[in-house]
Subunit: 200 residues, 2 copies
């Protein structure tokens, strides 16, 4: 591991192997779920030798943790559409697409988080990071004078996004994209300083 | 099974056995989670013979499904506090208590729903029933003139409750009772016909 670490450089062989292995983890997880995920299948799919996969990731849980870590390392940011409602709608459409995809990697990772503590912890860290990044939509709304500076950013983002997860993942019931848009609109409306069409 | 069915009467031996067994399922599930739930442990805890438990419930999943069915058969209704915000706050406090209890039966049942399809289906049916009952708080608000008759009742209840499930169960992060109250308040405010302190 130390040798591999010393030899690695951005875009080098180590980074390439990680990219290939994590792409295979995503595909296997989405297709077969956590119960169907095996190091052997990941090795075959990625074309990376199974000994390498075992040495570097140790276990199926280790692969999942690294997949979520890669999400934390990415440069995702919420779109800047010029309004709080627009920003929240864009976020909700991304969440909606991720949760209704067939197969859905996000649903598979959530299911895995109920199987192992390592996956649960990694998912919590991933979401803490994602929600912290998403809260910029509220800071932008404060700068535009759309909402009060005291507005609880986490509460706004949760009000918009939580119903999508609850309905699609826990209640396991359908939810249209129009409904996802509506939850974004009501979340924006409730915190707006000026009344909007929805709030009145 | 047919004999047992014929012999059963409300409050009779069959009903008593079911009550005792389901109480044991609740206790075992809350203490040890779905993975620790066994028919033998339920038999020992309830004092009901294991042969009876096997014959009537067949499997661990069968016990869980019947526990959720018993929830559908109960007479739970949301409290009538005289205002939409008060009603939603009372609902949210019940949800908050159920999700933050240590051990939490609700969290254990949710975890089980990611293990077997039977548990997932039974939980969906349980929640469809619970949400349908909860929506009366919106119909009462319509009658009081607090919200428009066209208000989407499911959307109101989801806006109030979903953030609690998302934060405590999926994000696995703390959420105070005061925060649960706040989500009830914003859900009531966004749909109110008259602006409230929160909405302005």
């Amino acid at each position: 591991m130390t040798d591999a670490g010393r030899a690695s450089r951005p875009g080098g062989r180590t980074a390439r192997v990680r990219t290939e292995v994590l792409a295979a983890v995503e595909a296997e997880l989405a297709e077969h779920g956590y119960d169907g995920l095996t190091i052997d299948a990941v090795a075959i799919r990625s074309g990376v030798h199974r000994t390498t996969v075992y040495r570097r990731w140790k276990s199926v849980a280790g692969l999942l943790v690294d997949l979520l870590q890669a999400g934390i390392d990415d440069d995702w940011m919420p779109k800047d559409t010029g309004s709080l409602e627009g920003d929240l709608r864009a976020v909700n459409r991304e969440v909606h697409e991720a949760l209704t995809a067939e197969p859905s990697l996000t649903r598979a990772v959530i299911a895995a988080s109920f199987r192992t503590l390592e996956a649960a912890d990694a998912l919590t860290q991933f979401w803490i990071d994602r929600y912290a990044r998403t809260e910029i939509v509220v800071r932008r709304a404060v700068e535009r004078g759309e909402v009060a500076p005291t507005t609880e950013a986490h509460q706004v983002v949760m009000t918009a996004t939580a119903p999508l997860y609850h309905q699609l993942v826990l209640l396991r019931q359908p939810l249209s994209r129009a409904a996802a848009d509506r939850y974004a609109r009501t979340a924006a409306a409730v915190f707006a300083l000026r009344p909007t069409a929805t709030a009145t």
